[in-house]
């Protein structure tokens, strides 16, 4: 068994860790780097609670061996807030009580971030598709969809130029 040094840029900061073959990206974040936002739910890629951004794209980090993504950029829920100031998506989840127990929330938020990065004005169907891999066992989907819709509107209002750009 080979232990390898894996370098990642996590939330914009360079990190390195010693990974065993069985260390997943999720394990690297939680157990090596102490970032507990992404959750281990099913370990099957089915619940979405471990969703993070890998080179800007949402992935279920439980299915990614860490050694295969050496050199990649990773975005997690911990990287969204600016100090005490929550991101627009986080604030909308908080204001709309879209969290309930909170276990699915980091994955939901990262899926929402990935959606809004590509689509500034998503329809409800597009929101449903974006979070179709994120399971909320509190079944609080309505406030979650509503929070994502709200965050999209807030983001468009804050940056009309950016929204137009994203729609092109």
């Amino acid at each position: 068994m080979t232990i390898r040094i894996v370098s990642l840029k996590v939330n914009g900061v360079g990190k390195a860790l010693m990974a065993e073959p069985g260390t997943t990206l999720l394990g690297a974040l939680r157990e090596h780097l102490g970032l507990m936002g992404a959750k281990r739910g099913c370990a099957q890629g089915a619940c979405g609670s471990c969703t993070v951004l890998l080179d800007g794209e949402p992935v279920v980090s439980c299915l990614v061996p860490a050694v295969t993504v050496d050199g990649a950029s990773v975005g997690t829920v911990e990287g969204l807030a600016d100090g005490q100031r929550l991101s627009d998506v986080q604030q909308a989840f908080l204001d709309g009580f879209a969290t309930q127990c909170g276990f699915c929330t980091p994955g939901m938020i990262m899926s929402a971030e990935a959606l809004l990065e590509r689509n500034a004005d998503p329809t409800d169907e597009e929101i449903n598709e974006a979070i179709s891999g994120n399971v909320c066992r509190c079944t609080g989907y309505e406030p979650i969809v509503s929070a994502i819709r709200t965050a999209a509107a807030v983001r468009r209002a804050a940056s009309p130029a950016r929204s137009r750009e994203a729609q092109v």
Partner: protein, 266 residues
């Protein structure tokens, strides 16, 4: 339990490692769930992430999908609009970022909807082994009789406008396995079907090439009576099974409905 994960550069290195008994890891969306179980057998993997197989080329109407081209990349490629409904019917967004075209060829029932489409598109695969490379129809690869080799590329011609049809029936709108998947390429001349290639998913141990359906369609206008006759013929070549999504009885019951919706749009 994972004992080693190789991340080689280039296909020659992958092929060399395959000879040692290590298993190929493409997107990992089928393989990793079983390996995340601590009771899994000792396994050595060869990741395709740096093997240079993630590209997509379209040249003169011929599409070449690298075996490690991800489903999200296919979904966003404007040249592959014909496959967009297929890809969007598969799994969830964060799974599609990882899942690959090549991996889909090996997905087990009731998954593998892209493969259903590829059979309907008469796609071929390029295989690499220690002796070099060779091509094989996807259908022959699925038959499982070819010796083990690395799929490096999937090749198919873009269908004529309006000739490709696809419909996947599932329990939810998104991220749900197939109850019945229908993919077909139908050519009509003067209002009569002159050629048809129909593949089905979710209703057999693997992808079903529905030759009886094709025979029933060819030579008739594509209308309700012809599709009904084709569905009756198709019932003889499907062998659905019970699973967590639906019973075999239900799949057989709704197959004619979904065949009609796929071919006629209503």
């Amino acid at each position: 339990m994972l004992t080693e994960v190789h991340v080689p550069d280039g296909t020659a290195a992958v092929v060399g490692l395959m000879a040692t008994g290590a298993r190929v890891l493409a997107g990992g969306t089928s393989l990793m769930p079983s390996l995340n179980d601590h009771a899994s057998p000792e396994t050595e993997l060869i990741s395709l992430r740096r093997a240079g197989l993630g590209g997509i080329r379209v040249d003169g109407g011929v599409v070449r999908l690298g075996a490690a081209a991800t489903l999200s990349r296919i979904e966003r490629d404007a040249r592959l609009a014909v496959l967009r409904p297929v890809v969007r019917s598969i799994a969830s967004v964060p799974v599609r970022t990882l899942a690959t075209a090549g991996g889909n060829l090996f997905a087990r029932r009731p998954h593998g909807d892209l493969t259903v489409a590829l059979v309907a598109l008469d796609a071929r695969v390029t295989l690499a082994d220690s002796g070099g490379t060779h091509e094989l129809p996807v259908e022959d690869l699925l038959a499982g009789t070819a010796p083990p080799a690395l799929v490096t590329e999937i090749v198919f011609g873009l269908p004529a406008a309006g000739s490709f049809r696809y419909l996947k029936a599932s329990r939810r709108r998104f991220n749900s396995a197939s109850l019945v998947t229908v993919a077909a390429t139908v050519t009509e001349v003067d209002g009569v079907v002159s050629a048809a290639r129909v593949a089905l998913g979710g209703v057999g141990p693997g992808v079903v090439r529905a030759v009886a359906v094709e025979r029933a369609l060819i030579g008739s206008p594509l209308d309700v009576p012809a599709v009904r006759r084709a569905a009756e013929a198709g019932l003889g070549e499907i062998s659905p099974a019970d699973d967590a999504y639906a019973s075999a009885w239900y799949r057989a019951r709704v197959f004619p409905v979904h065949l009609r919706r796929a071919l006629l749009g209503h």
